[in-house]
């Protein structure tokens, strides 16, 4: 057989590799890596700055319905008002569940989960890398920055345990995938936070730039943790040290503000070194808006949607000449055009109060009940026409009405047939002194520009000391520490107190849109349940940790006696559980177990190696384990 053998060989001899393994090592030329960044004091502080910037997002972030608004909307002082969002925080039974917890304009509970863990990550990176930076730092500087790391980690953990209850404890830097987290007992976490903050209070410096935590910022968080742990005497001692070093502002500091409260909340005074009251600020300034801008959006979130043409109409009136009724025309307009002769005049509502969309709608408790005869002169309250605005202060300024409708240029009149939805979103009064932030970069649609904002200030410390005395049963001293805050604001001093009510009332008056109201109410609820102190606001009721979240999952219980948070919100808020319906988007309802928020379902299922407990009261098929205590080995170790 002929053997045709055609061989075609195409061969390329391979380059026998004499290259070392290093030849293929990735070598980035120009970006940061942990190994070249976190090696000295500047590098470590850059991670602290990341914590601080993350904290600013709590108050200013996400434009519509910032996270701070969610704290107010799930409390006694406000409700969710953005009536064009389906599934917003109205029917909490239906719209806050493990499979539906969100971080968007309908609600920001998920923000607190996600960003809480981000902040803890940044703080743990600082604490982990100190040993490298220690080589170039003095011992005092090292301890101070360690204290800063403890502060930021404790700030997030303190919020998480008052929002989600028992959560995983993480105190090291994650450097490779970890999916075996376990739930830890919040009381054990509180014990650890107390130790960390005792250290921070001792070592963080007294004087730091505004925007950074100082000794006194650490002190007030330390106080909250001590109070959560029932150590009221220690908290009082720390509080008195803070007050001694940081007196409240009692006289105006800047020029051009009509009263002390407008002055205290102005950008000028927040920048001024004569302001001894601010203990911790987040900072954002218009002069830096090219490189680091975060606008406050306080007017957009917190003032009514007065520009909604279909809601705010002129009254119908009878035309004298013909006897016929003139059809009601649209009322206000948010931004008069640039050619409009009335722009920036007294008629221009946007110019004077900003343009709101009513996301965060104050309750009647905050608008009316808090301001009694004793608060007639209170500069924080509705009786002060410089500090507060009501709808009747605004004008009909729709250019289409000019010359055609007698209401043009007149003050607003509440429409007779205003719908429930519109009255929630478009008609309420608000603390203009707190929410007004000028924005020099825009000429219309003023939403609230850049501004420093108080995270902690001395007035809160007074009220915390007053609360400590309450827990100790010393009503005389509770009174003694509430009154300075009242007197400073122009209110009459109280002559007696009954108990927690006066503390909560005064906090609401003073700290609207500053304190994390939901978390503070939950802290107090846990303290009642832990100490068993009789709550005089509810006839001497005693609370029990075992019943805190109700009886069983999925009950949607609406009954008093389980936790103070629900009892107080249900009694005082006035809109939850009263049959108020926000259009087609749900009836305002809240149940006992909503004191705490659900752990996102995805967090539990993605954690394939360990067990994270779902918050009690929420339906779940995942199992729950007994929470670990810090120091115990987790089952995966």
């Amino acid at each position: 057989m002929k053997f045709r053998n055609i061989i075609g060989i195409v061969a390329v001899i391979l380059v026998l590799t004499s290259c070392s393994k290093d030849w293929l090592k990735p070598m980035p030329l120009s970006f940061f890596s942990p190994e070249n960044t976190y090696i000295d004091e500047d590098g470590i502080y850059s991670a602290i700055t990341a914590c601080e910037r993350n904290m600013r997002h709590l108050f200013f972030g996400s434009s519509d319905n910032a996270p701070i608004c969610t704290q107010l909307e799930l409390s006694d002082v406000a409700v969710f008002g953005k009536s064009d969002e389906s599934m917003g925080l109205t029917d909490i039974d239906a719209y806050l569940t493990p499979s539906h917890i969100v971080d968007n304009s309908k609600g920001r509970c998920l923000w607190f989960w996600n960003e809480g863990w981000n902040g803890i990550k940044y703080a743990n990176i600082v604490l982990n890398r100190l040993s490298v930076a220690a080589e170039t730092m003095s011992e005092e500087d090292l301890n101070a920055v360690r204290g800063q790391g403890y502060f930021h980690r404790a700030y997030r953990y303190f919020n998480l345990i008052n929002e989600f209850g028992d959560v995983p404890w993480l105190d090291f830097e994650i450097q490779e995938p970890k999916l075996d987290f376990y739930t830890y007992d919040r009381w054990s976490i509180l014990e650890q936070l107390e130790k960390d903050m005792e250290y921070a209070y001792a070592w963080v410096r007294e004087v730091e730039p505004r925007g950074r935590a100082n000794k006194w910022s650490c002190g007030i968080l330390y106080m909250k943790i001590l109070m959560s742990n029932g150590k009221f005497d220690e908290a009082i001692k720390v509080g008195q040290e803070i007050i001694a070093a940081n007196p409240m502002v009692t006289k105006p500091i800047s020029n051009g503000y009509s009263n002390l409260m407008l002055d205290l909340n102005s950008i000028d005074t927040k920048k001024n070194l004569l302001n001894t009251e601010g203990l911790l600020y987040i900072v954002s300034l218009p002069e830096f808006n090219a490189t680091d801008s975060e606008k406050s959006y306080t007017m957009r979130n917190g003032t009514p949607y007065w520009a909604k043409g279909s809601a705010i109409k002129t009254p119908a009136y009878v035309d004298e000449k013909t006897g016929a009724t003139v059809a009601a025309a649209n009322g206000t307009q948010n931004s008069l055009g640039n050619n409009d002769p009335d722009k920036d005049s007294y008629l221009d509502n946007d110019y004077w109060v900003g343009r709101g969309i009513g996301c965060c709608r104050p309750s009647n408790y905050y608008q009316y009940d808090l301001w009694t005869d004793a608060e007639r002169e209170d500069m924080r309250g509705r009786y002060n026409s410089e500090s507060w605005r009501k709808m009747e202060d605004l004008y009909y300024n729709n250019t289409g009405l000019r010359g055609k409708n007698k209401y043009y240029g007149q003050h607003l009149v509440r429409p007779d047939n205003m719908s429930v939805v519109d009255s929630i979103r478009c008609w309420f009064s608000w603390p203009h002194y707190k929410l007004w932030v000028p924005d020099p970069s825009v000429t219309s649609d003023r939403r609230g520009g850049e501004s420093p904002w108080y995270v902690y200030r001395t007035a809160e410390v007074y009220l915390m000391i007053a609360e400590c005395y309450y827990w100790k049963g010393d009503l005389a001293n509770e009174l003694a520490y509430i009154n300075p805050v009242r007197v400073r604001a122009g209110a009459n001093p109280l002559t007696s107190v009954t108990g927690i009510t006066e503390v909560l009332n005064e906090r609401a008056r003073e700290l609207y849109y500053e304190e994390l109201r939901h978390d503070e109410l939950v802290r107090i609820a846990f303290t009642y349940a832990k100490t068993g102190k009789a709550c005089e606001a509810f006839g001497g009721r005693i609370y029990d940790m075992a019943k805190f979240s109700g009886n069983s999952d999925g009950e949607n219980l609406k009954q008093e006696g389980y936790n103070f948070y629900w009892d107080w919100v249900n009694k005082v808020n006035g809109i939850f559980n009263r049959g108020v319906v926000l259009g087609s988007y749900g009836e305002y309802k809240i149940s006992v177990h909503h004191a705490l928020w659900p752990v996102p379902e995805s967090a539990i299922t993605s954690n394939t190696g360990g067990v994270i407990n779902q918050t009690p009261g929420y339906v779940t098929s995942s199992k729950r384990i007994t929470p670990l205590r810090i120091g115990e080995n987790s089952p995966s170790e």
Partner: protein, 437 residues
């Protein structure tokens, strides 16, 4: 790289190659991968023992191949931790504002990253039959990809959402048929036709190797199994394109107010099945719906006709069958309907109790899926070559008039926008004259 090719007697063929590649993105631990392959071919139609079939079997070749290929489709620095930076403002202790840098880690590094490898085997048949009436090929392949380069999701507690990682094992099986028909070849009529058919099935065999406990009804541990990735919706034993979600069940209608209220819904909202009857809609109610996001079958058909030597007509059609897509616009829940215009699509109203669309402002807890299978004629063209006898008089060498239509029609149930993506389908008609002087 080295390659060898050997052929014997015009009938037996062998090709073999091997290569070794390195990529710096994997450079920390596993920079290199080795990729061999081998292929055999046998033209069996030339064999002596098949001489009797040569009347109808003009050409037949059997092909077998096996090879390993690498994929390195990942950023050059994906193995390194990456930091983000920005500025933050302070007010200094002297009262002057200033800015400093913030730097934070936003991507977790993975020094164990390595080459993704696919081992593929293929068996194929090339054929020509019935005196060149039809020729084509049939192929079946089976490939297993290991160490897929993916973005593995992490619990948010870590502070990270994901990490670049190599994932376990994914298998692809598929089947392709190609047939060219030289159907008729006459004086005045020629007709050629080509048909293709393609199907592919994928299955995840392994993920990350995390083992989790298997519990019986009482909560006792009875074994271990590999954990799925719920966040990315990758499940062991299933196609990654398989849709795992709530089961759609039309729309809540009037008269069902009480039932609907249990879930926080009202008549007019999309309804989903509560599989375990616990009055809550959560992960336990998600099932493998039997829908896929990618086509189950793909076909194409091309025809070219030549009539009377001067006319030619042709068209191409193709079909993709079995894919579904989300269409949540049908929930009419994007907000602000009182303030701006929106597309006029269907909606549920009390007088129009449809099951395909929800009421305006509905509460929608799940996803609404619609079948996106389609048949599309992609191209239709007609051209006429003017006979040379007519052209001679005007001294023109060649002239041809042609008409081409792209996207003449699509048959599909998908009602909104182009079924292959995009908001609209572009159909174009071109009329042309081609002249050579």
């Amino acid at each position: 790289m080295a390659r060898l090719f050997y052929q014997y007697n015009n009938r037996y063929m062998l090709t073999a190659s091997i290569r070794r590649d390195g990529y710096s993105a994997f450079g920390i631990e596993n920079p290199y991968g080795t990729f061999p392959s081998i292929a055999l071919g046998w033209v069996f139609s030339h064999e002596d023992f098949l001489r009797s079939t040569s009347k109808w079997l003009n050409y037949g070749k059997l092909r077998l191949s096996y090879g390993i290929n690498g994929n390195r489709d990942i950023g050059a620095y994906a193995a390194l931790a990456q930091l983000n930076s920005g500025l933050y403002t302070y007010i200094g202790t002297n009262g002057t504002p200033y800015q400093v840098s913030q730097i934070y880690i936003n991507v977790l590094g993975n020094s164990h990253l390595k080459w993704e490898q696919t081992a593929a085997s293929n068996i194929g048949l090339d054929y020509t039959l019935f005196n060149n009436f039809v020729d084509g090929s049939i192929d079946y392949y089976h490939s297993v990809t290991t160490d897929l380069l993916v973005s593995r999701s992490l619990p948010r507690i870590t502070g990270y959402g994901s990490i670049s990682s190599n994932l376990g094992e994914l298998q692809n099986n598929g089947f392709e048929i190609l047939a060219n028909f030289h159907t008729y070849n006459g004086q005045n009529f020629k007709w050629n036709s080509t048909v293709t058919f393609y199907l592919n099935r994928r299955k995840i065999n392994h993920l990350y190797g995390d083992m989790e406990d298997v519990l019986d009804d009482n909560g006792n541990i009875i074994g271990q199994k590999e954990a799925d990735d719920y966040t990315n919706q990758w499940f062991i034993g299933h196609d990654p394109d398989e849709i795992w979600d709530y089961e759609m069940d039309g729309v809540w209608q009037l008269g069902q107010e009480e039932e609907a209220a249990v879930f926080g819904n009202k008549p007019g909202d999309f309804r989903y099945v509560d599989q375990n009857g616990d009055d809550k809609l959560n992960q336990d109610d998600k099932i493998f719906t039997g829908y896929y996001t990618t086509p189950r079958y793909q076909l194409s058909w091309r025809n070219d006709f030549t009539l009377f030597k001067n006319w030619s007509i042709g068209f191409i059609m193709y079909a993709k069958i079995g894919q579904w897509g989300t269409y949540n616009r049908a929930a009419n829940a994007n907000g602000n309907y009182d303030r701006y215009t929106a597309y006029n699509i269907g909606r549920w109203t009390e007088t129009n109790p449809t099951n395909d669309y929800a009421r305006i402002g509905s509460t929608n807890f799940g996803n609404h899926y619609v079948n996106k299978s389609f048949l599309r004629m992609e191209n239709f063209n007609v051209s006429y070559t003017i006979p040379k006898t007519l052209l001679k008089r005007i001294k023109v060498d060649n002239a041809r008039i042609s008409l081409a239509i792209r996207n003449p029609f699509v048959l599909t149930k998908w009602e909104f926008g182009d079924v292959e993506g995009g908001d609209y389908t572009l159909r174009s008609v071109n009329l042309g004259i081609n002249v050579t002087l």
